[in-house]
């Protein structure tokens, strides 16, 4: 059976995280480390077992199905719905996006909020995303971005939450000061 490196890397990442937590736990006072150790040690053991299962193809198959899972009418129904959903998405032209592309959009939004603040980033993100990925007209994209910006400004003002202004604005303010 073909190994799936994504699964192995993810399982290894969990092992690394829990190992880091377990190692740190020993530095704390006995009372502070009691509960973390009680949880961390079995979790680490399970994570290592899972990682080895992912590496060994025979075990991986078992791990993926839980070893006891059998096909049920419900699961067949779910699978059928998934297939119909994919077919309908393809028919309606709503084809899926490559995962790195979806992640890149999210990362770009977060980075742009950090750089330019909430309001301009959200407006720009919606405008570009709806225009390029949803293939809607510029007018639709502009209207959506404008309406969303107004709603966000109103909501944050109502909630008395100070709008995050972004790194550039704070840089300019400190420069001016």
């Amino acid at each position: 059976m073909k190994k799936e490196w994504g699964r192995i890397l993810f399982a290894a990442g969990i092992v690394a995280l829990v190992s880091w937590i377990t190692a740190f736990t020993f530095q704390y006072r006995p009372r502070a480390r009691l509960v973390p150790l009680v949880i961390a040690l079995p979790t680490l053991a399970l994570a290592v077992y899972q990682m080895l299962s992912e590496i060994s193809p025979a075990r991986a198959r078992e791990g993926r199905t839980g070893g006891t899972e059998r096909p049920t009418l419900f699961k067949v129904g779910t699978a059928a719905r998934e297939i119909i959903s994919h077919a309908r998405a393809a028919e309606s032209g709503g084809r899926g996006m490559e995962p790195p592309r979806a992640v890149a959009w999210l990362a770009a939004l977060v980075a742009s909020i950090w750089l330019a603040g909430i309001l301009p980033s959200v407006a720009l993100f919606l405008l570009l995303f709806i225009r390029s990925e949803a293939s809607r007209s510029w007018l639709f994209a502009l209207a959506a971005a404008f309406a969303a910006s107004i709603a966000i400004y109103g909501s944050l003002a109502l909630l008395c939450v100070e709008m995050y202004q972004g790194f550039l604005r704070s840089l300019m303010q400190s420069g001016a000061g």
Partner: protein, 486 residues
């Protein structure tokens, strides 16, 4: 007493109380739908507006808002997998899968009805319990809190059907993440890596938003198409959902009882009530294998509990001036602002105020359900929008929801990281729900374990309520494991 109750009800025929009630319900639904806001923030925003108001209208506005928030939160939990309030976490577990199956209307109908029934149940219990309030509240101490947390954590086993090992890893990881920050028992800083942001622990609101909503929005983009795979308008199932809630009336009553009792325990809160009720529903279900995949009972159980909790939370608030949850802390502030002193005096001198609050909860719950369900059909259309149109708005809503909860930029980054982790967890079969349950209950369980051990030694397990809770939890766990393996 009865004539005071009827006089209080009669007061709602006056235009100003009715107006404030309607305004409160509308505001509550809006605050509930917005991710990361919730009832406490809503009350905190509205409290200053009530300073100049008379006592009855002020309390009606605040309580109506608070009562409607829970159903508002369920709407976004069901439609876009984003819990509107932290107390709607468990509603996502089955609500969103139902929306994906084109049964969003049914889920909304069931959630609304369960919320209203739960809210009314909580109030009835409040009225019945007023005479024996004191002994009931004092019966629960830290050992009982601890056992309640353990009961909530057992949901992890029930939700780990794909692979028990992966479910337990997710749950363990959730508990470990909940321990980040100051240790309440020893004052030691743990697992912060020197980051100031982590000193107060990991806020679960951005994590929940990221794990469920952001990851689902990315999945929607990757998969293509719309949230719902059904062709028909799923808003039509509202009446069916209402019927489902009545068909599962025993579940509604049991989970409402769970919510009311947890509401009475000061400091535990609706998130625990929501998860414990979900655990109870799962353990007592004849088809636990359907839970997490779109079981209508999985929506009914948590929604009845969180609304019933409001009535329960008023017991210690009115009886002793001890807030039952975060929101009632703000309500307590409102009492003081309006010259009311909670305690036995309030139940004697200001019993009219108590009945105004009771009727407000009843009417606001019914009104919120009616308004929410009337708007269900247009809302359900959201699930038929193409992912490329809906997903960017979910991205924005999620990141802003994460930011609005504390006004900290790093929460946005945390939500994004949780979103990526959620995407990977979903893809590789790790339970996101188990991680969230661990994250929510871990720290509370640890704090109550230390307090119990200090106060009673290892015999804290042997207190009557603790033993009963332990027996019920273990029996439920065995039952659910046997049923899922069958």
């Amino acid at each position: 007493m009865a004539h005071v109750a009827f006089e209080a009800l009669y007061g709602f025929l006056s235009w100003n109380l009715a107006l404030y009630l309607a305004a409160g319900v509308m505001l509550g639904l809006v605050f509930g739908i917005l991710p990361g806001v919730g009832g406490t923030v809503a009350l905190a925003i509205l409290l200053p507006l009530t300073y100049q108001m008379e006592t009855h209208p002020a309390l009606v506005l605040l309580i109506a808002t608070h009562s409607a928030v829970m159903f508002g939160g369920a709407i976004s939990a069901i439609l876009i997998n984003t819990p509107g309030t932290s107390q709607n976490v468990a509603t996502c577990f089955d609500g969103f899968p139902l929306a994906r199956q084109g049964r969003a209307g049914e889920a909304l109908g069931a959630a609304g009805t369960a919320s209203a029934l739960g809210g009314i149940f909580g109030v009835v219990i409040l009225v019945l319990v007023i005479p024996v309030m004191r002994s009931l509240v004092l019966a629960f101490g830290s050992p009982e809190y601890f056992m309640l947390c353990i009961a909530g954590l057992t949901v992890i086993a029930g939700m780990s059907r794909g692979s028990m090992v992966k479910g337990l890893i997710s749950g363990g990881l959730g508990v470990l993440l909940s321990l980040v920050g100051w240790d309440q028992a020893t004052g030691q800083l743990r697992f912060t890596g020197g980051l100031l942001y982590l000193y107060d622990g990991i806020d679960f609101v951005p994590v929940v938003i990221g794990l469920f909503a952001l990851s689902e929005a990315m999945q929607l983009l990757i998969r293509g198409g719309a949230i719902s795979s059904a062709t028909h308008s799923s808003g039509r199932g509202v009446m069916k959902g209402i019927g489902e809630a009545f068909r599962n009336i025993s579940l509604v009553l049991r989970c409402s009882a769970v919510g009311t009792v947890i509401g009475m325990i000061p400091g535990v809160g609706g998130t625990v009530a929501n998860l414990v009720a979900y655990a109870h529903g799962l353990q007592s279900s004849r088809h636990p294998e359907k839970w997490g995949n779109g079981a209508i009972e999985g929506v009914i159980a948590p929604q009845s509990a969180i609304n019933a909790k409001d009535g329960g939370a008023l017991v210690p608030t009115l009886g002793f001036g001890i807030p039952g949850c975060e929101s009632t802390t703000i309500l307590l502030g409102a009492f003081i602002v309006h010259g009311l002193t909670p305690g036995p005096a309030m139940l004697g001198e200001h019993v009219d105020v108590v009945f105004v609050m009771i009727w407000t909860i009843v009417i606001a719950n019914l009104l919120a359900t009616a308004v929410g369900l009337a708007g269900a059909r247009p809302l359900v259309r959201l699930t038929h929008l193409p992912g490329t149109v809906l997903a960017p708005f979910i991205f924005v809503l999620c990141l802003l929801g994460a930011f609005a909860s504390r006004g900290v930029f790093v929460d946005i980054v945390l939500a994004a990281v949780a979103g990526l982790a959620g995407l990977a967890m979903k893809r590789f079969g790790y339970s996101r729900a188990a991680l969230v349950i661990g994250l929510i209950l871990g720290k509370t369980a640890e704090a109550n374990f230390h307090t119990s051990y200090q106060a009673y030694g290892w015999s804290f397990w042997l207190r009557p309520i603790s033993v009963s809770l332990l027996v019920v939890t273990v029996a439920g766990l065995i039952l659910v494991l046997r049923r899922t393996r069958r």
